[in-house]
Amino acid sequence: MSASVAAEGSAGEKKSRPGRMLWSRAKAVLLALIVPLALLLGWHLAVKAGMTRLIPSPADVAKHMVDFAVGGIWDDAFSATLHIHLFASMTRVYGGFALAALVAVPLGLLIGRNEQVRALLDPFLQLMRPIPVTAWLPLSMILFGLGPRSAFFLVFLGAFYPILLNTVFGVRSVEKRLFEAASMLGCSGTAQFFRVVLPASLPSIFTGLRLGLGLAWFVIVVGEMTGVPQGLGAVIMDGRTLSRTELVICGMIVIGIAGFISDRIVVAIMNRLLRWSPSHHG
């Protein structure tokens, strides 16, 4: 029982030192800020030295960002419209992602569990997989018209494969031992699916959801090239047409931050649900 005593000891130690935890967190944040800050400085110096006339300085971009967010500086078509564009993009990202998850998770469970379904669908899905989302753009505009439905579809496509493939992988890599254990304890058939397959493949499913959501933000710009008036992708495309590079950069930053925050949310949910898993220290 010496191991158990040791385990308890370390748990107690962690709790009794909140100061230490706070410091290690602060250190992590500081460390993470070094590269972005250095990049920002390099950017600022490069612009100041006149190395480029097409890229605005960080300070310029910051000013535009404030105008974009709350207005009151230039009062043009883009002033104080951030929330509108962000909201439009978010509905497409989360909508497309939710639809992808709704289709890909059950389909992945089915493909992973059922030999026949796998034989029926796997070759087709693998054939479609290498086609990039961008290649679907023209076809999607024909099928769904110019507008948000096309964007929605492209986000769906982008998020679909990582969720599907990781779900299939999760289901197929459930240890055989666990099925034996469940069946000797009197749990078989459909019950086994819900009590063993689903929880055992949850870590992989979450990995897929995380990748899928990341890709959903990734393809939003392409998705919003389909002629939608609102959305962060639309802002970037407009900025490009109007040669307003600061607007393009603002759009990029907002996408980056929004994607980062939604990833953190997924990770937080994941760590909570997968407390039992040693690789998801929640």
Partner: protein
């Protein structure tokens, strides 16, 4: 009339077909186990001891002969036979308490009853303080305690153990052996225990079944008459060990010759 044995294996054989190869893992195994008996299967790797256990568990059907429990053919895994695996086979997403309650919960036991039942078995294996821990937070010995409690809580009549203490350090192993004997004596379970340690077999078993490889089969059976609790350092224990060891090696010698 003699009482019906809990387990009756009649000419049980197992052949695996791997591509074009035919591997005979077990040939003509005959074994009768009475209720409440503690039987150890011992032998070198490839002697079919794990195969035999898996057939009794119902994980694999025999290719020849009959495996009967209470005179009825074994047709797949069932709660009356519980297996304790060397690699534990715990559900990593369930706490100690939930792992132990897995079987009864699957059968839809009401919450209050389930809780009482689980508490009893958590207590029996001495894990009350760790009842809400997850398997990855436990030591090997604690995991194996959970695996044993899980089978007991499911009301198994026969516990099948496949080298359950093989991965544990010597001290934990001795402790668990004592605990297992204690539980066995209190519950009057029937235990079929696979091991490759002669000492472990003599320490635990009423009867030791020696198996030999190529193809796997039962070579001999030995009743261990030593009184319990057994002392592994006593001269009597050593005598039995020497005798059994000689027999194990004579089987192997015969094979080599």
């Amino acid at each position: 009339m003699a009482e019906l044995p809990i387990l009756d294996l009649r000419h049980v054989g197992k052949v695996y077909e791997l591509n074009d190869q035919r591997i005979e893992a077990l040939r003509d195994a005959n074994l009768v186990v009475e209720k409440g008996e503690f039987v150890c299967l011992i032998g070198a790797s490839g002697c079919g001891k794990s195969t035999l256990l898996r057939i009794v568990a119902g994980f694999e059907p025999p290719s020849a002969g009959e495996a009967l429990m209470w005179d009825k053919p074994i047709a797949g895994p069932a709660p009356n036979r519980g297996m304790v695996f060397q690699d534990y086979g715990l559900f990593p997403w369930l706490s100690v308490r939930q792992n132990i309650g897995f079987g009864p919960a699957s059968r839809g036991l009401p919450k209050a009853e389930l809780r009482k039942l689980v508490d009893r078995f958590v207590d029996m294996v001495g894990l009350t303080r760790f009842a809400d821990a997850y398997p990855h937070q436990l030591s090997g010995g604690m995991k194996q305690r959970v695996a044993i409690a899980r089978v007991l809580a499911n009301d198994a009549e026969m516990v099948l153990m496949d080298e359950p203490f093989g991965a544990l350090d010597a001290m934990t192993r001795e402790r668990l052996q004592d605990e297992l004997l204690d539980i066995w004596q209190r519950t009057k379970l029937t235990v079929l225990f696979v091991t490759h340690s002669i000492e472990e077999a003599i320490f635990l078993a009423d009867r030791v079944v020696v198996m030999e490889p190529g193809p796997g089969r039962i070579a001999s059976e030995h009743r261990i008459e030593l009184p319990r609790p057994r002392d592994v350092s006593s001269p009597e224990f050593n005598a039995v060990r020497r005798d059994l060891s000689a027999r194990l090696h004579s089987h192997h010698g015969k094979k080599a010759a």
